[in-house]
């Protein structure tokens, strides 16, 4: 996984609550067997109408936000299906930071596996950032969001921070504990299926 780099970008304000993963990446795109190329399908049914014409009133279709790396959205972002395709689509589209007042658990966990930083802030702060038109800086090392008017600190679990900053391969880390896993298996009483 690529190490997380600090981000300096304008924010894309997606002023909606309960954005579910069915909206982030609709089901018809889950049949693909690779991880790449999902960006063009991100928020597909909000970006395009039934004839696949661009819906001009959707925020991602506003050229002002082209190249934005930070998505700011309402409460309970990423709820619903466990599909990691949602994170692959956000990543491929170009977002590397998602800011919300809360995230659904599985989506939150999927972000860290793909080098995306989800940041939880108080609702008041999220509402402010939804209105921010100037570029902002997200500094993971110092856990700080810098806007022209203020610096906002954010919380992140130190283990998750390390994974993002170093771009660690989760499985390689786990293999350091292979003896512990074997020992556990020796005493396990749960029978095999086969």
């Amino acid at each position: 996984m690529k190490p997380f780099q600090n981000v300096n970008s304008i924010v894309t304000p997606l002023d909606k609550v309960n954005v579910d993963t069915d909206q982030i990446i609709p089901k018809q795109f889950l049949k693909l067997v690779q991880k790449s190329g999902f960006g063009k399908f991100l928020f597909f049914n909000w970006r395009y109408d039934e004839n696949e014409n661009i819906k001009s009133d959707f925020i991602l279709n506003d050229s002002k936000y082209t190249g934005s790396k930070i998505l700011v959205a309402g409460d309970n972002f990423g709820c619903g299906s466990s599909r990691e395709h949602a994170v692959w689509a956000l990543d491929d589209y170009g977002f590397s930071v998602i800011i919300s007042s809360s995230f659904a658990d599985i989506f939150f966990s999927n972000c860290f596996k793909n080098g995306i930083l989800p940041i939880s802030l108080e609702s008041k702060m999220v509402e402010k950032l939804l209105l921010e038109t100037n570029p902002i800086e997200v500094d993971l090392e110092n856990q700080m969001i810098k806007t022209p008017s203020e610096d906002i600190s954010f919380e992140i679990n130190s283990h998750k921070k390390k994974i993002l900053l170093e771009g660690l391969d989760d499985i390689a880390q786990t293999f350091q504990f292979v003896d512990e896993i074997s020992k556990f298996e020796e005493k396990s009483t749960v029978p095999s299926v086969l």
């Binding site: 069915d22 909206q23 609709p26 619903g80 659904a104 499985i171 786990t174 896993i181 298996e185 299926v193």
Partner: protein
């Protein structure tokens, strides 16, 4: 101080634990399907890794398989490739697969318990959010993403932050248990706690209203834990649980000695405390119908569509959410639920496509015809459920009433296969999610129980099934 059931299962699966860091948790059962696994197997190949415990891993194909004639080739080429990819991956990595022609094929959360693969006190994962279903057996069952699927394939473990505990007590007795079902209980719970009410927690469902339920009904409850935002849902195993799992195809040989230890250990101690508690009394509960675009947007069948102003309680976001939902659903505040006409009926999904669901729905359908304006289908949750239903003659009841009777799969719950709503179509569905476009772009989903869906099919609009003679 005593421990909760969740804490006991968690502690008995810790491989590595460090302060302020996630714990490495051992996984006893890994269920795999075609949609969330191809990239995981690719990852193993790229890094030259094996599946650590193929003997604890089971695969089936459910999400995008057609539910029409299985002797015909799959027309959708991308679906066909994904299905073929699962076959190849299972062969290459030595994983047991119930393929499209297997009598054990079905929705992964229906076949796990039916085959005796799901066990009390175990940890179960699957790349699917409705894995919470298996919690009905007192298993800690978690939905995971594809990277975690790869991690479990490679190491049979997962790094997990310990969730908080959430007690949901269901008290009282339903007046008419044929009309007011487990689906109505869980929709009521989600309506009350909200779709993020359980975030970061494992719910344990407790109380008389839960122990009264059959195993099929308990699975409906735990299945929708994720719709309340929870990491997992649990019900302590009891005699019904142990009887259900006895003599299944993959029931362990030393089953009775396992039951003895489960009876001893798998319960929340009387002096244990939960981080959070919610109580629902079901004495007066009504059948539920969702009206909006998330499962929390639900009301009683004898109510009218709420006004967005009802949600303005200090939170403008919720009010705007309700406005958007009503616009998408093409509904107006004040309309009585029973006056809403429907175009389609879907009885299926990992929430409500087990034998008992089909039996209950068939009682409404028997001797009746689907309304001429409605197209209705039954998609059994597994080939085994389908066979059992056919042995009871349920297929004839549904077919005689003009329902379509299909092969097993996820089908119109998420519309990855050809079973989808057309834009603007309104569906009474026994599935779990009413998100925008979930059952087809522009489709409008109302979540209901199997009996409510059956009654809507016959009448062409929602009906309060408490008015019907269901005994």
């Amino acid at each position: 101080m005593g421990k909760t059931l969740f804490e006991k299962i968690w502690e008995s699966h810790i491989v590595v634990e460090k302060q302020n860091e996630p714990a490495l948790i051992y996984i006893d059962r890994h269920l795999v399907h075609e949609v969330t696994s191809p990239q995981a197997f690719d990852g193993l190949r790229m890094n030259n890794r094996k599946v650590r415990r193929p003997d604890l891993t089971i695969a089936t194909m459910d999400h995008n398989v057609p539910t029409s004639d299985r002797t015909l080739p799959i027309l959708d080429q991308t679906s066909a490739v994904q299905i073929k990819t699962l076959e190849n991956n299972c062969k290459d990595f030595g994983i047991k697969l119930f393929d499209i022609n297997s009598p054990n094929q079905g929705i992964v959360h229906v076949i796990g318990p039916q085959l005796g693969i799901t066990l009390p006190g175990s940890t179960i994962v699957c790349g699917d959010s409705h894995t919470s279903t298996h919690g009905a057996f007192g298993a800690l069952a978690l939905g995971i993403g594809t990277s975690e699927v790869e991690h479990v394939l490679a190491s049979q473990t997962l790094w997990l932050e310990k969730p908080k505990t959430f007690e949901v007590r269901v008290e009282g007795k339903r007046k008419n248990p044929h009309a007011v079902t487990a689906k109505d209980i869980i929709l009521s719970i989600i309506k009350n706690i909200g779709t993020a009410g359980g975030t970061g927690t494992v719910i344990e469902y407790r109380g008389e209203g839960i122990t009264d339920l059959s195993m099929d009904q308990r699975m409906t409850i735990c299945n929708m834990s994720i719709e309340g935002g929870a990491r997992a849902g649990l019900i302590a195993p009891d005699q019904k649980t142990f009887d259900y799992l006895r003599d299944r195809e993959y029931t362990p040989k030393n089953y009775e000695s396992l039951v003895d230890s489960w009876k001893e250990n798998l319960k929340t101690d009387s002096d244990a405390t939960f981080d959070k508690t919610f109580t629902l009394n079901i004495n007066e509960i009504a059948p539920q119908v969702s009206w909006g675009t998330n499962p929390g947007m639900t009301c009683d069948v004898d109510e009218s569509i709420p006004s967005p102003d009802d949600f303005s309680n200090g939170d403008d976001n919720q009010k705007r959410g309700a406005e958007k939902a009503l616009e998408y659903m093409a509904l107006e505040s004040g309309t009585m639920i029973e006056d809403i006409k429907i175009d389609r009926v879907f009885i299926g999904s990992c929430t409500n496509a087990r034998l008992e669901d089909l039996i209950e729905a068939s009682k409404i359908v028997q001797g009746q015809k689907v309304a001429s304006s409605v197209s209705a289908m039954v998609v059994p949750g597994s080939q085994m459920v389908k066979k059992q239903a056919e042995e009871m003659g349920l297929d004839k009841i549904f077919i005689d009433a003009n329902f379509e009777w299909r092969e097993a799969g996820c089908s119109m719950c998420l519309g990855m296969n050809p079973d989808i709503l057309s834009p603007g179509e309104r569906c009474a569905s026994t599935s779990n999610r009413n998100f925008e476009g979930r059952q087809g772009n522009g489709g409008r989903t109302h979540l209901v129980s199997p009996v409510m869906a059956a009654a809507a099919a016959i009448n062409g609009h929602f009906v309060d099934v408490r008015k019907l003679d269901l005994n």
